[in-house]
Structure formats: structure tokens, C-alpha cells
């Protein structure tokens, strides 16, 4: 088995995980047309949740999944009603959301420093079993496989929510024609609040696995993760949550191939890919124009 095959399979694991990293940001943008610059900070908070579940209680970080989904979804609902309806009454909610959520990002980071300190934290990968996993003759850390599996499960649940539930159908209706959604009796704010909650909760879910997939965590890493998430969703398509899967896979493959063959260029290549996609197809590979002129 070649190094290329190793990198390609690793890229799929990372890609599925990165799809989970980006999907919440894309769902929130798709439904509300607001840009959550605090996305990475919620992910970092999710990572700290997993860290404390492991270090304080000695539990497997997987126990953080149900706890964080409930806590982050629950907390994001009042946050939605506090911020978003006012934002959407403004003349340019998209632009204003940049400023407002940048401010929120800074607040979360400052509070995280206050609460958790500036030191980097990590969780040993051995929590998922000491043995690596062999797939197609290649050996991978178990944490990569678990992270990819949770990523795939998360994306599948979002697909089921969007395409096989009544509220999901209403969510897609708002995504395609917000003004029409209002006159068909949809409570746009209630449906949007649920989408906002799901978006934040999936960020926290991705955060649980970030110590294994991204590296040691610290409060200051949030903005960088937000930028990575943007890269992923723009490659897939801005405003189309399921396009995030393609964006995540392409990002993961690009990152792994570069890390394997051109290590020193690895950090730069995904961003070069982003610029290329924006130049060739500015709406993303699966996207259509989502902004009206």
C-alpha cells in the first residue's frame, strides 16, 4: 500500500470531520443569512467541555456528546432571540452580523481565558482504545475513525432533519424564499432559532473531537477555526449545508495530501484552493448565488 493511499483515506477521515466543523456555520448562514464569526469559539467551548468531562469526571469524552448537544442547543435559543431578530431588522444584516458576531467571538474568548486560562489543553488519544485501526491495509489512530464516524452521523442527522421532518421542510423553505415563508404561516423566528441551535450544537459537537483532529486547545484558537470553517463551506457552497460535505472532503484531502507530500506547504494549500474556487466558481462547487443584488 502506498503513501498516496494512506493520505487519501486519511483525507476522507479528516474530510468527514471537517464537514461537521463547517456544517453548523453553513446552516446558520443558509437560514438566517448571518455570518457567525463566533463559530470557532463555540467549537472551542465544546472542546473544553470534553476536556473537563474527561479530566474532572474521568469519563470518556464521548459522554460529552449528549450533554453538550442539550446544553449548547438550550443556551443558543435565548442567544438567538437576544441577537438575531434585532439584527435582521437592520438595513444590512449580513454585514452587521460580521461586526456583532466578531464582538461575540471576542467576548467568548475573553471569558474562556478567564475561566480556563491561556494554557493549551489536550486529551490523550488513547481514550478511544490504545490500538490503532487498520483499514485497507493502512493503520490510523482510532480517534480519527471515531471523529469521522461522528462527523458522518452528524451530517446524516442534519440531512434527515432537513429532508424528512416538517420543521426541516420549513427550514429549507426559509432558506430558499424567506419572505414567502412568512406568508405561508411559518413562524420564521421559531424555525430559525432551532436551526441556530443546531448550528451551535454541531459546532460544540465538532469541538469534542478537535483535541484529536486539530490539536491542543486554547481559547485563542477560535478565530482560526472559524476561518477554516469558512474555507470549507465556501469550497462546498455557501448557504447549502449539505454542500459542506463536499467542501469538508476536498479540504481534508487537500490538507492530508499536502501534509504527506509537501509538508511545508500544507497550511497554505487549502487557502490556495479556496482562492482558486472563488476565482473559478465564486458560489462554491455546488452552489448558486445566495445573495440578491
Amino acid at each position: 500500500m502506498s503513501l498516496l493511499e494512506y493520505a487519501v483515506l486519511a483525507g476522507i477521515f479528516y474530510g468527514l470531520y471537517f464537514a461537521l466543523v463547517g456544517v453548523g456555520l453553513n446552516l446558520i448562514f443558509g437560514v438566517m443569512r448571518i455570518i457567525n464569526l463566533a463559530h470557532g469559539d463555540f467549537l472551542i467551548l465544546g472542546a473544553y467541555g470534553a476536556f473537563y468531562v474527561f479530566h474532572l469526571f474521568g469519563w470518556n469524552p464521548l459522554w460529552a456528546i449528549p450533554i453538550e448537544l442539550v446544553v449548547f442547543f438550550g443556551l443558543s435559543l435565548p442567544l438567538y432571540y437576544l441577537l438575531v431578530p434585532r439584527l435582521q431588522k437592520s438595513g444590512d444584516p449580513e454585514m452587521l452580523s460580521f461586526i456583532l458576531f466578531f464582538g461575540l467571538s471576542q467576548v467568548i474568548e475573553a471569558l474562556a481565558v478567564f475561566a480556563f486560562g491561556n494554557d493549551q489543553r489536550s486529551i490523550p488519544a488513547s481514550v478511544f482504545g490504545g490500538s490503532p485501526v487498520t483499514i485497507a491495509g493502512q493503520v490510523y489512530p482510532a480517534s480519527w475513525v471515531v471523529s469521522a464516524a461522528v462527523g458522518m452521523a452528524g451530517i446524516t442527522l442534519i440531512y434527515l432533519y432537513l429532508y424528512h421532518t416538517r420543521i426541516g421542510r420549513a427550514t429549507r423553505a426559509i432558506m430558499t424564499e424567506r419572505s414567502e415563508a412568512v406568508v405561508t404561516g411559518i413562524s420564521v423566528h421559531r424555525v430559525s432559532a432551532v436551526a441556530f441551535g443546531i448550528g451551535i450544537a454541531t459546532a460544540a459537537l465538532a469541538g469534542i473531537f478537535s483535541p484529536f483532529m486539530i490539536g491542543a486547545i486554547a481559547p485563542s484558537l477560535g478565530m482560526g477555526i472559524t476561518v477554516t470553517s469558512f474555507t470549507i463551506i465556501v469550497i462546498g457552497s455557501l448557504g447549502n449545508p449539505l454542500g459542506t460535505v463536499l467542501g469538508g472532503l476536498l479540504y481534508g484531502e487537500a490538507l492530508m495530501l499536502m501534509q504527506t507530500f509537501l509538508t511545508s506547504w500544507a497550511e497554505m494549500f487549502p487557502y490556495a484552493l479556496l482562492i482558486l474556487v472563488l476565482l473559478v466558481k465564486p458560489t462554491g462547487l455546488l452552489g448558486k448565488a445566495v445573495r440578491s443584488a
Binding site: A170, V182, T184, G185, I186, V188
Partner: protein, 236 residues
């Protein structure tokens, strides 16, 4: 509410856009099972009246009562759930959703009076397109889809904004028959239309508006003889 009371009562409706008085004290009512026409020159306030009744924008004065309850402070989706819905002059379906999903979304929140989206599509000749994306329909099919979505919310009051425009004579006859049949089942219908022949076929009463005011209320035949209506709308 007494059985003889109007289902919709609009009193002194006012709406300003900057210095423009789009509605300047409009009053009228509609009874269950009645089809009321709303005509007038462009800019007279017809669509603004529909937007005010459905809550697309807040009004600056006046009151709107539906089923005996004041609704003018309710958001649009609440008015829909009370039983008011509309069609648009330019159809605005959810383009990425299928035709069936468009109707299902509209019917989602009508728990009291359930509608059958398949039957609605069948009645409006859209059943064969049920699984197609709404954006693939032509403009008259999209108008039908707009009507289907409105019907899916089981409205007691249907506001129809220039649904006849762009329809061929056969489609117009079919539409007139449909509206009469909905009214026969007790639905109140407000029809905004420029096509006088269509209004003649469907309406019980007609309101002619001009410059945000009610110019005439009565039978269409009387309207065509009214000098104010002739001067403002029909032309001499």
C-alpha cells in the same frame, strides 16, 4: 360573532411610504362566502391593501378585525394561522422544493383544519408535476402553485392578487369557476384584478380605489356607469 357579521372588517386603514399616502382611510368588509373585487388604476393602493391585511408591513392607522378579533398587530404567520392567506401577483414559490413540498410546507401549521396536499394539486391540475422542483414550472403553473399553497392553509379569507394576468381564456374560465366554488363552500375571497370581464364573472361586489381611497363600492355594472370610476379608472 353573529352569523351576519362580516368575517373581515377593515376600518380607516392608513399606510404612508414617506410622504406618499398609499392608503388614506380605506374601509370595507367581506362576509363569508362573498367574493369582493378590488379594482383601480396602478398605484391606487390595491396590493398595499392586501399587504396590510396579511401583515406584510405594519399599518399607520386604522383597524383590521377578522372573525371578530383585532388582527392588525399580529405578525403575518399568526394571521395565516387565523385563516387568512393570499396569492402573489408575481408567484414566489420555494424554488428548490418540489411542487408537493411547497404545498406541504404551507399546510404544515394548520392543525385545526387539515388539508390534503395531493388533493389540492389534483384539483389545480398540478398532480403530475408534484415531484418536480417548483422552479421548473412555467409562470401560469407557478400561479396555480401559489394558489395551491394558499389553499393548503385552509383559509377562511383568500386574497387573490391579479391571478388572471397571463392566463389564457380557458384558464381564466377555470379560475373563475374555482373561485366561485371556494366561495360556495363559505370562503370569503378578495380579488384584486385589472381584467373587468374576469371581475364581472366572479365578484358579488366591487370596490374601486384611487389614490389610496375608496372611490366606489357596489355592483360592477353600476361601477361602469359611475362618472368618478370612468374618469379615474375606466377612461372615457
Amino acid at each position: 360573532m353573529s352569523p351576519d357579521a362580516p368575517i373581515l372588517k377593515v376600518e380607516g386603514l392608513k399606510k404612508h411610504f414617506g410622504g406618499l399616502k398609499a392608503l388614506d382611510g380605506v374601509s370595507f368588509d367581506i362576509h363569508a362566502g362573498e367574493i369582493l373585487g378590488l379594482a383601480g388604476p396602478n398605484g391606487s393602493g390595491k396590493t398595499t391593501t392586501i399587504n396590510a391585511i396579511t401583515g406584510v408591513f405594519p399599518i399607520d392607522g386604522g383597524e383590521i378585525h377578522f372573525g371578530g378579533n383585532a388582527i392588525h398587530r399580529l405578525p403575518t404567520f399568526r394571521r395565516v394561522r387565523h385563516g387568512i392567506n393570499r396569492t402573489f401577483q408575481v408567484p414566489r414559490p420555494f424554488p428548490a422544493l418540489t411542487v408537493l413540498e411547497n404545498v406541504m410546507v404551507a399546510g404544515t401549521y394548520r392543525s385545526e383544519r387539515k388539508s390534503d396536499p395531493h388533493r389540492i394539486l389534483e384539483d389545480l391540475g398540478l398532480a403530475e408535476h408534484a415531484d418536480r422542483p417548483a422552479k421548473s414550472l412555467n409562470s401560469s403553473q407557478q400561479k396555480m402553485l401559489g394558489l395551491a399553497s394558499a389553499l393548503a392553509t385552509s383559509p377562511q379569507l383568500l386574497l387573490v392578487d391579479e391571478i388572471g394576468a397571463g392566463l389564457n381564456p380557458e384558464e381564466l374560465s377555470g379560475m373563475a369557476a374555482r373561485l366561485r366554488s371556494y366561495a360556495a363552500q363559505g370562503m370569503a375571497i378578495l380579488v384584486v384584478e385589472h381584467l373587468m370581464d374576469f371581475l364581472d364573472r366572479v365578484t358579488d361586489r366591487l370596490i374601486v380605489m384611487d389614490a389610496g381611497n375608496t372611490l366606489f363600492t357596489g355592483k360592477l355594472q353600476q361601477a361602469t356607469q359611475d362618472p368618478r370610476v370612468i374618469e379615474a379608472f375606466l377612461g372615457g
